[in-house]
Symmetry: C2
Subunit: 335 residues, 2 copies
């Protein structure tokens, strides 16, 4: 059970009676090796159980064939039953699969975690880095870009770093949702906003604000952090502060779900007394009571696009610096 001394190219070469270079060629699929020799090498590889040392390989090739997806969040948040991160991951995984590259997922919730990720990525352990869910003005994307490491962010970076990014049309989507509420006769429209250190939080609030202000309606705002817990608290506060509200736009489906329950507890009927609209269109949205009307963002597509951009960047191609994907209002029964 002790670590069997692992064989190197050298030993395989000796066993096969050829040179290191030839073994290397066979292992890497070069066609310029005579068939019988290939055969001998392959047998030696199998007999010795040879596996290339990736560190040594990437030291000389300067590539690792892997790409990091960095989520500057605690695992708790990333894997709430929010489907946003998962969707992103799926999209990235699909594209990387096609490119035969390894996806390396890194969470960086704590400062120490952030440091570790910094070391790992700046240390050239990966060929490129995808960022999602950036908080505040994280300097890491800009820093990596300056180090010449390909980087793509989801969401416009809040520090003004010149890093390519992809985002969805938060403002347009929320404006459409809010207008829909207004068109349906709602006049006291509240919002449970997202965290204001993230682009998604900021812009979704802006979409709400712009629309109610333009319609001459009052602003009624409470803040959450996209989680259910925060949604519950915010909804209760809204009910206390504005007992006559007749609609709520929540900046995430999880918060909308919590709002649904809080409203139910408070004896309000949805959508009769209060209309509710969420944002994301996570899987659970179709299962809430009543099913949730929400703004769908093409999250998987976002993950795919980010990844394609990154791969292009890594290939030295010129790429668009900013891409914005459309959102869509999905009407169910809560509004």
């Amino acid at each position: 059970m002790t670590a069997a001394q692992r064989p190197t190219l050298e030993e395989v070469a000796r066993q096969a009676g050829v040179s290191r270079a030839t073994v290397s060629r066979v292992v890497n699929g070069s066609t310029t090796v005579a068939e019988p020799i290939q055969e001998a090498v392959r047998r030696a590889v199998a007999e010795l159980g040879y596996v290339p040392n990736l560190a040594a390989r990437s030291l000389v090739t300067q590539r690792t064939d892997s790409v990091a997806l960095v989520l500057p969040e605690a695992a708790t948040r990333v894997f709430s039953d929010d489907q946003v991160f998962p969707g992103l991951i799926r999209g990235a995984a699909q594209e990387l699969e096609a490119a035969d590259k390894q996806l390396v997922l890194m969470l960086a919730g704590s400062p120490a975690g952030h440091d570790r990720v910094t070391r790992y990525t700046t240390g050239r352990h990966v060929d490129g880095v995808l960022f999602a869910s950036l908080h505040g003005e994280d300097p890491l994307p800009g820093r990596l870009a300056r180090l010449g490491i390909p980087v793509v962010c989801s969401g416009r970076p809040l520090d003004a770093a010149d890093v390519p990014y992809i985002d969805v049309d938060h403002i347009g989507g929320v404006a459409r949702a809010t207008r829909y509420l207004i068109d349906n006769g709602r006049r006291r429209i509240a919002t449970i906003a997202g965290p204001q250190d993230m682009v998604a939080g900021i812009e979704r609030l802006a979409g709400y604000r712009d629309t109610v202000v333009a319609a001459g309606l009052p602003q009624m705002i409470e803040y959450g952090d996209f989680t259910r817990e925060s949604g519950t608290i915010a909804m209760r506060r809204l009910l206390a502060a504005y007992p006559d509200l007749d609609a709520v736009f929540a900046a995430s489906d999880l918060m909308a779900h919590a709002a649904l329950r809080a409203l139910h507890e408070a004896g309000r009927r949805v959508p009769e007394d209060v209309a509710v609209i969420g944002f994301d269109d996570i899987e659970t949205a179709a299962y809430t009571e009543p099913p949730l009307t929400t703004v769908r963002q093409p999250i998987v597509e976002l993950g795919r696009k980010m990844t394609r951009l990154l791969l292009a960047l890594a290939d030295g191609a010129e790429v668009e610096r900013a891409v914005v994907l459309p959102t869509e209002l999905v009407i169910r029964q809560s509004a």
Copy 2:
């Protein structure tokens, strides 16, 4: 924006007017360097923006300070709103955080993905590998173990590989749940079982079987794959096949949730007409209608324990080959 030639130890050494070895010592926090020299080196590092090349380092140290968590599942599955994988990941992340090691998450849903993970892990890109959710007789854990790479599985590996594993008491938990149903007067108890190529699926079914058989009750079984979709289908089939059933044990909370809805659609009241019990105790379980009675498994703790075991293994310690964590029946309103 072109990849600035990244500085090496050599260049830092030249800039600081010392040798490579000294720079290496400072970078790695050796105390045997005179203070003024340390200062000079640090300045040179900062000026040049030096970052150690991890490939070169691990080539000589034989360590990478990172650990892989392999999930042989498609991203779709891993990140359903099932909280099981996330919990595992959180547990692992916590422990690795404490050990200052990097968690590298790898999904391996497709055969190609599995190959990639094989290459990555056997290539010594990580210091150890955690496996979760193994399907069938995956040979990879055993293979890694034979290569001398520390490995720990969650759930007993189905091939008889001598790999340390941690699992939860599926059988005991399900038996308790089933007995609870019997004690409450249920006599026509059905089950939505999990996939039979996974330990969790097999053992949860065994727990149900043993208990109903021991009580002289009939077995009523449909199979799902832990997802909601499969739960919906299975529940409908059960209703068609056994219209008089009065209880259902579902092998996952997602399937239980789907069953709740399917029963509702079929006009059955829960728990009056049909009692429902799930397995997992995911966050959503407290939010279903009615809130779900379920078997809680200490999933975060499982992730932590796995990781501690792995780290001990990597330190060359002797470890237990099998650990089983207890499960607990959480009674809410669905049964």
